[in-house]
Symmetry: C5
Subunit: 95 residues, 5 copies
């Protein structure tokens, strides 16, 4: 998984029928020092995440292992909202 | 998923039999500021997308989770046509 | 999928038994302007492709969705021979 | 798989229910000369690894092939703690 | 698949139980001109490969399609030992 920041949303009305109701979030990867990077990914929200929150997302087939994404054509899912993380005992982020 | 622009098509008459009838689109990745990048991917169309449209595509095994791609040897599928997206509350693209 | 040029072959006599008879092609990725790149991949041939032909290959688990590759430890398959492709209405390659 | 160093942990209380109890480790990739790189990944611990240990992690669907990760939305798992490795007969690391 | 050179081994006594007995090889990618690159991967050996041999490895879920790796948390497998390869009719390597 990667840590990312929720920065936006995508609206798409014409889509695979089983994606109806999925929230599509735009995430930007962050470094472990909490610096936001330019690289982004669009992921389906499985945990009620919102703009400005740090989250974990999983990619590939693992992205379909949530109720929100089961058997759907999505390759990235937000499966956790991050409270905090530490590196070498030093807190790098706390919500 | 990634946001991409449909820029072209591929014709391939000699192919796996179960790919008969699949539309093969050439997509170029775009940044979240809607700038078109040089990187491309060829994806099967599952939603009736056409040239000049912004779309979402999914890769890997998730690309086979549509009616158009089930059990077929394809690793990228267009599964949504994008209406709009916003970053930090600012609309970056609207159809 | 990616468009690639068939440039060579690999011979491997000591291998997983279920790979017996598989043709192993060396592919070089091409840009959408048909320029050959240095990056390569070794893929199993599922469609009778030969040196000098432009092909489409699929990677990951999708590479096992052909008769030639089913249940085999291969992560790339040539699943189509390209006749032509166009970008923005301009033909970039025709066989 | 890749060799990585365990450098930190992530806390996430709001997450997919089946992730309850999973330990989320921050790993930094290392070169085969045991130099720590900036690239990181967040992986679920399946073997009781701790900070400062060199580990192997697996990605993609293979990350779900442990008791700790079965059917869960995780795309990276620590599946071994490294005792030592050698390159060309020269020991590069020993615990 | 990629062509790689077997350059070393990893020892890991504390690991997922079903990895008991797996040989963990360190591979370095090679170019199609047989030049060894710095990038490495750790793969399970399924064909009896040894140091100094050129091999093919498969990644992702395809890495689990051998007897040695079935249902195990490994994302790379050596599934063939290379005898030779040619590019444009020119032999680049012969064992």
């Amino acid at each position: 998984m990667k840590i990312a920041l929720v920065v936006g949303t995508v609206v798409a009305s014409q889509k695979e029928p089983n994606l109806e109701g999925s929230r599509l979030l735009i995430l930007k990867n962050v470094t472990i020092d909490a610096q936001v990077q330019s690289e982004y990914v669009v992921a389906v929200d499985a945990v009620g995440a919102g703009a400005g929150e740090y989250v974990l997302y999983a990619g590939g087939s693992s992205a379909r292992q949530t109720e929100a994404t089961h058997n759907r054509p999505v390759d990235a899912v937000v499966m956790a909202i991050v409270d905090s993380w530490e590196v070498g005992g030093v807190e790098k982020y706390k919500k």
